[in-house]
């Protein structure tokens, strides 16, 4: 049966001399894998549309086994994602995270929409590290983690000082700090930011101006959850770490675009201004 799906290429792998196996996340059918015959030949019409991160309409013939990609039309080629190494690195991280967490053939337009918004935002030159944090927080439920962020995970209190507990996977109020000896104290702005990352759709968030220290803090929390609770270690994370160690590519330098530390943390996520 020939299907017309809107999708984004998550990854490709070689198959034989001239073919590629392409994994897409589609709006209609979830994550699907299809064979793109001849896509490695230079003159193939499939060569360009099967590049990672391409958003397009794909015609896939699907029988019992792996489908075959018949044709594709790019809706957006994500040019910036291909021309900026930090954007490429973070987009690869997002694609790998989605690929690892999402099961095949389970339709979910929400996951597709998250990926589309994230890639479009990075392509529009929004801070890729901040966008990646959004995706990491929003993918936690897909990984089976439902952090308690609206109240204290232990007593249910909604007022007071809060900290993040990896044991309880959520916030703990000051009255319950004794429950977890390894908790991480949160400022009110961190609290709001975590809730924003988890709950607010990417396209409803305005221009992000997160301080490097804030991003590092958020990254530490979410990566610890993935490491300890989900057990997912991504290859692209080690690539980001390699870039980090290089003086001219580190995350600190990349993020220090005039937002360096004078502002109150409240200014870090500005009012909605609608991302693409």
């Amino acid at each position: 049966m020939l299907n017309k799906w809107e999708g984004i290429v998550l990854r490709t792998g070689p198959y034989g001399e001239t073919n590629k196996v392409v994994t897409f996340l589609t709006r209609e059918a979830g994550k699907v894998t299809a064979m793109a015959r001849g896509a490695k030949k230079p003159a193939s019409r499939l060569a360009a549309v099967t590049q990672p991160f391409t958003h397009g309409i794909f015609m896939v013939y699907k029988g019992k086994g792996m489908g075959t990609l018949q044709s594709g039309d790019a809706l957006r080629t994500m040019r910036h994602l291909h021309h900026d190494i930090m954007a490429t690195a973070y987009a690869s991280y997002i694609a790998e995270l989605m690929d690892r967490l999402i099961e095949d053939n389970q339709p979910s337009s929400g996951q597709f929409e998250l990926l589309r918004q994230a890639f479009h935002a990075i392509d529009e030159e929004y801070d890729p590290e901040a966008i990646t944090l959004f995706v990491e927080w929003k993918m936690l439920p897909v990984a089976g983690i439902h952090p308690v962020l609206h109240q204290c995970a232990s007593c249910g209190a909604t007022e007071g000082e809060f900290a993040f507990s990896f044991q309880e996977i959520g916030f703990l109020c000051h009255r319950c700090f004794h429950v977890d000896p390894y908790l991480i104290r949160l400022s009110p702005s961190h609290l709001r930011l975590i809730r924003t990352f988890y709950n607010v759709p990417i396209e409803q968030v305005g221009k992000l101006t997160l301080k490097p220290a804030t991003k590092k803090f958020m990254r530490k929390i979410v990566r610890t959850i993935y490491d300890e609770q989900v057990g997912v270690r991504l290859k692209s994370a080690s690539f980001l770490d390699q870039l980090d160690r290089m003086p001219s590519f580190g995350r600190q330098e990349q993020a220090a675009d005039g937002t360096e530390d004078k502002k109150e943390p409240d200014d870090e996520c500005s009012a909605p201004e609608n991302l693409p």
Binding site: A43, A74, H82, T88, A95, K235, F239, S248
Partner: protein, 198 residues
Amino acid sequence: MHYPEPISKLIDSFMKLPGIGPKTAARLAFHVLDMKEDTVLEFSKALVDAKRDLTFCSVCGHITDTDPCRICKDESRNKTMVCVVQEPKDVIAMEKMRDFNGLYHVLHGAISPMDGIGPEDINIPDLLKRLQDETVQEVILATNPTIEGEATAMYISRLIKPSGIRTTRIAHGLPVGGDLEYADEVTLSKALEGRREL
């Protein structure tokens, strides 16, 4: 199917080659049985020699039987230009063209975030060492027009540019003899982007 041991070993050996399945391997193995002994010995010697005698050039990283390789030793070549490619096969493709008279640098791979291959895993440090020599005035980045190739080119250009060496990227666009009508949008847009005045 039970083959005598020497044949099944030969079939297994052929199956280690890319694109060779059990049937093709069996066909090749039986073909070897029909070959003359001298030819078979020559064939096996060629395999062993290729493995034993070939090494990587200590200057450019290309495969060679002498170190430095013939290209690096050739005094008639333009030493002010270095063309950076992903694989030794790419050097051979460039040499077939006969239009380029500069030197090469083989990276033996490309940066691939998805596969966790970073700058430390390919032959970039040696390139940087080569560029400390002031004779090099231009670096041509001829990595593949894929996401990995682009990432590698971007990375190298960002490292080299502060040193003042001219860094260029090979053009992308329509294949010679191709038809505009059948070109995809991405290729066409790249071709338009790289247009030049006549």
